[in-house]
């Protein structure tokens, strides 16, 4: 029987790239996103690759929406083998004292509460069924401090803590939980931004030992490796994929 993955934030960027990469392994996918347009676009591409895929609209900051995407996945596919817990937003990029409470609540709601709700419902299913593999999306800002992203950094450091602590509790039940910490990555959104601001791209590249940005496809390779490879003894890790960026600090 085919394997099933849930990917949140599957309608764009890293989530979409990971979905397409997992389809190469014949994995069926629940694409979860708040954007119907992006989510449906991913589903169409996945079907073109010959796997079964459904779109489930969700605001991951709402626990009932999260429960719904888990229930709908089980209804349609019957199991959840893999979970790429990835939906997130970066915020306005303003300094902390210039951000309003609403923005702080929103970032924490999506990036941290959304990830926790997802784990709460998905891990419950996985542990009941003898195990499963999860990758959470952290960030360079989850392992180092950076200006302009105080709230974002709080949520991404939180993801690292969740990843380690879940392993302490449920590794014995067959649960694998790892996180990725991508550095500057040229998602379609970032690419468009840098095309309009080439000097900012040059600055970003200069700060990375490899002098280039990562690609969504490279991150997708790591996600696919962590979710599906036979190297199952990798557990509780946060793996930096950033060209060496966080190591220069």
């Amino acid at each position: 029987m085919g394997k099933t993955a849930i990917i949140t934030g599957g309608g764009s960027g890293l989530g979409q790239a990971a979905a397409l990469r997992l389809a190469e392994e014949g994995i069926n996918i629940s694409v979860v996103d708040i954007s119907e347009k992006g989510g449906n676009e991913t589903v169409e591409q996945l079907k073109g690759k010959g796997v079964d895929a459904i779109f489930i609209k969700a605001d991951v900051s709402k626990a009932e929406d999260v429960k719904n995407y888990v229930d709908k996945t089980l209804e349609h596919f019957g199991s959840i083998d893999y979970f790429f817990n990835n939906a997130g937003i970066s915020g306005s990029g303003k300094y902390f004292l210039e951000t309003d409470i609403q923005e702080i609540d929103q970032i924490v709601g999506i990036n941290l509460m959304g990830a926790l709700y997802g784990l709460r419902y998905v891990a419950e299913v996985m542990v009941k069924n003898g195990g499963g593999s999860i990758v959470n999306t952290a960030s360079s800002a989850g392992v180092i401090g950076q200006d302009s992203v105080v709230t974002y950094a709080a949520t991404k450091h939180g993801i690292v803590g969740i990843t380690k602590s879940l392993v302490a509790e449920y590794a014995k039940d067959g649960l694998r939980v790892n996180a990725i910490a991508p550095g500057p990555t040229e998602t379609p959104m970032v690419k468009t931004f840098f095309e309009a601001n080439p000097e900012m791209k040059a600055n970003a590249e200069a700060g990375i030992p490899q002098k280039r940005l990562g690609t969504p496809e490279e991150v997708a390779e790591l996600v696919a490796f962590l979710l599906t490879s036979k190297a199952q003894y990798i557990n509780g890790d946060t793996i930096r994929i950033d060209g060496g960026f966080t190591n220069t600090k």
Partner: protein, 260 residues
């Protein structure tokens, strides 16, 4: 996607344990191998095992002591003469050393362990990086250890050398990233290799298996890791699929490192 067609890979410590497991995994993906080890019989066994699993594999053997820089230069030159390039380098040869508290560790023992685990790794990086820089591509994976990230006890030489491997990895990763090169370290925990068996025998003698069971009872996954699992990780890290991972240290320890 991982693809080793026409890739030339050097593996030190290729005659046993993690080196042999990585060699087997990479050969199955079509990679061409130069296996380096002090133990000639171990190298032959690795080659036989690889050819049994992948009859078309290209496997060359070099007997060398990695503490001797001339011999390191020699295995690098041999690879260039044979395959014309070095795509990947699993810089893995190491020893565990005798277990004792610091005051009884022994200066000779310390020097011996550091010589293999740290000097040998440095010599390898020095000569391989020169080639990779000129080529404009290449990936290196150094074998650190859980003992390279935290204190385990009774292993001064091993701890110092493996922490040193982490330092070499981070330092060179910053220097060589700009030349299209990725340098990472793996930090294996309790993987059941001949070396770990040796450590358990030092503690438990004939009772080493019971000591092992006790040892992994505190591991989150409640088991030893398999050399094949580390082989899979190395195969991924040395491939083009992992090029943007650089200067990282990646634990493979069943979750043991959640505590640090």
């Amino acid at each position: 996607m991982i693809n080793y067609t026409d890739k030339a890979i050097i593996i030190t410590g290729g005659g046993s344990g993690l080196g042999r497991a990585a060699a087997l995994s990479i050969a199955k993906q079509g990679g061409k191998l130069v296996l380096v080890d002090m133990n000639k019989d171990g190298l032959e066994e690795s080659k036989n095992e690889i050819l049994a699993a992948a009859p078309e594999a290209s496997v060359e053997l070099v007997t060398a002591n990695v503490t001797n820089e001339e011999e390191v230069k020699n295995y690098v030159q041999f690879t260039l003469d044979t395959f014309g390039k070095i795509d990947g380098f699993f810089n893995n040869a190491g020893i565990e050393g005798k277990q004792n508290p610091t005051e009884d560790y022994g200066s000779d023992e310390f020097e011996k362990v550091v010589n293999v685990n740290l000097n040998g790794v440095f010599y390898g990086m020095k000569h391989v990086l020169k080639v990779m820089k000129e080529q404009g591509f290449g990936s290196i994976v150094n074998t650190a250890s859980v003992g390279g990230i935290r204190g385990v006890g009774n292993q001064s030489g091993y701890a110092a050398s493996k922490h040193g491997v982490v330092g070499l990895t981070r330092n060179s990763g910053v220097e060589y990233g700009q030349f299209g090169i990725s340098i990472n370290a793996i930090a294996p925990g309790a993987i059941m290799t001949p070396m770990v068996e040796g450590s358990l025998r030092q503690i438990g003698g004939d009772n080493w298996e019971a000591v092992g069971t006790e040892f992994v009872s505190v591991n989150p996954m409640k088991r030893f890791g398999k050399p094949e699992e580390v082989g899979n990780l190395v195969t991924f890290l040395l491939s083009d699929a992992a090029k943007f991972i650089n200067a990282s240290v990646i634990p493979i320890d069943g979750g043991q490192s959640y505590k640090y």
